[in-house]
Amino acid sequence: MPAEHVVDQARSDLQQVARTPGVAKPDALLVADGVRRSFGGVNAVDVEHLEVQRHVITALIGPNGAGKTTFFNLMTGFDRPDTGTWLFDGTPLSGVAASRVATAGMVRTFQLTKALARMTVLENMRLGARDQPGENLFTALVKPVWAPRERAITDKAMSLLERFKLDTKKDDFAGSLSGGQRKLLEMARALMSDPALVMLDEPMAGVNPALTQSLLGHITDLRDSGTTVLFVEHDMHMVRHISDWVVVMAQGQVVAEGPPAAVMADQAVIDAYLGAHHDTDLGDDALLEEGGVIDAEAEAEADAEEKKP
């Protein structure tokens, strides 16, 4: 439905946006306000304000334990914040049950995959679909009511599985998939429901680079067909390659925002997260010496963590 230009519009809109944390976006799909969640006194998430632009791919990055997954959990109703409200497409979703969040169009994947082990891959996929009348107890009894939709779902599932290189596995139990295959299934399943916003939690961790590369095209296609994407990822190549906007979290807070190139050039981000040497060859023996540069970076990061209360 959304023509190409809508996406282009959204991307170019972003160019105008200031690169300060918590900045307002021209056309925000998700707006979070004052969302806080602490575990035993430690603030895992403490987001003053965050907006996610519609029709673009936003990357959420940050050091381990920054609160990215927890933020996802909060947004999607899997955890309750201590305080905070958020709007999705103008509707407040705070306190709404996880399943309702998903039906509202905000679908997430799990970092630690949740494959439905004793169901086949294809069934896993079908379960992701929406609007299947057969999922109602009473209509389920009358096959003609849901059979056409089921066929459509199956077709869609098969084409996704092909893309994700899982088609040969379609009749295997999901529990027998390898770690990376589970990641792929997790993501493919989320895409079954044509969400308005898909939130991917480290979708490519453990996925073979060649396959990752081919899937990036799929993600940009998704965006181009109108889906907004918010993903957490530690693979900077991927972030750089497909994201239109990058949000950096550290210790629960949004510390930086901006287009990928700019954010990755940000010294604070480099210090706290990227490290200056992620493109150096680690095979270099010089790096192994005591007190080498990498050690220094680790120190710096640890220091940065210390400084924050």
């Binding site: 381990n64 680079p209 992620h278 790096l287």
Partner: protein
């Protein structure tokens, strides 16, 4: 360079008696379905060997088979010349083999410290001494020693898993995607740490999807596909082998590097600092 792509097993392996030798392993989970269909691997003392390959190739299965967690149906596995085919995992641990699984690699209801304690279950007297050393490697764990591992973030778990494997001072270390889920800095650290450990005399087998990094640090690598050895060779050779790149490595990293190089100047380097206490 072209000859490295030929499916010759153990290309580039040093001569001599291997430490760990897997010969033509056949293994699988379900009866009648073989996942490994004749997989071979040698690990010489002090080597760092990488395994890469597409998802579902059987890399994790191979590691599990080496570690006695998956039944070997045929083939032979030796450690220092002794047959260890289908030897139970705890016996292997006693013989100095350590293993970090790909997923579910911490004990969620135990605290971090207890997780580490489990690492030296067989040699409890070493606990305090090793705890010092390992916590020094993972300073971010120190503050959270008493926290349950089940509450940790994905990356934090990964660190705990790695730390636990290092607790007993293994002489052979089997790592299954140790860098997955770690932030870039931590990934670099993890690889470097692996190399350091290796340089300190530990033989390492590392399975990685962060293939470029893995190939950068390892002495030799195997490419696995569909339960069989597809390629093998020295890490760097494989990294630049066009077929390997096409099939397994992808060009994302290089593409972007090129694009970035064209776009912006490289980020300034941080000043190296002294006073380092890391091992």
């Amino acid at each position: 360079m072209t000859e490295t792509t030929a499916p010759v097993v153990h290309r580039g392996a040093p001569a001599g008696e291997p430490l760990l030798h897997a010969d033509d392993l056949v293994a699988g989970y379900l009866p009648g379905v073989n996942i490994l269909e004749g997989c071979s691997l040698v690990l010489h003392p002090g080597e760092l060997v990488g395994i890469i390959g597409p998802n579902g190739a059987g890399k994790s299965t191979l590691l599990k088979a080496l570690f006695g967690l998956v039944g070997i149906r045929s083939g032979r596995l030796t450690l220092q010349g002794d047959d260890i085919t289908n030897l139970r995992a705890d016996a292997l641990v006693r013989r100095g083999v350590g293993f970090v699984p790909q997923s579910n690699n911490v004990f969620p209801s135990l605290t971090i410290e207890e997780n580490l304690q489990m690492g030296v279950f067989q040699t409890p007297q070493k606990f305090h001494e090793r705890l010092e050393v390992v916590l020094h490697l993972f300073p971010e764990l120190v503050k959270r020693r008493k926290q349950r591992a089940g509450a940790l973030s994905g990356g934090e778990r990964q660190m705990v898993a790695m730390a636990r494997a290092l607790m007993p001072e293994p002489s052979v270390l089997l790592l299954d995607e140790p860098s997955a889920g770690l932030s870039p800095v931590r990934q670099d650290e993890a690889f470097l740490r692996t190399r350091r450990i290796n340089k300190a005399g530990v033989s390492v087998v590392i399975v990685e999807q962060n293939a470029r990094r893995a190939l950068q640090i390892c002495d030799r690598a195997y490419v696995l596909d569909q339960g069989r050895n597809a390629y093998s060779g020295r890490g760097r050779e494989l990294m630049h082998d066009p077929k390997v790149i096409e099939l397994y490595l992808g060009t994302l990293a290089t593409d972007v590097d090129a694009a970035r190089d064209a776009e912006a100047p490289p980020a300034p380097r941080a000043e190296p600092r002294s006073g380092d206490t890391a091992r």
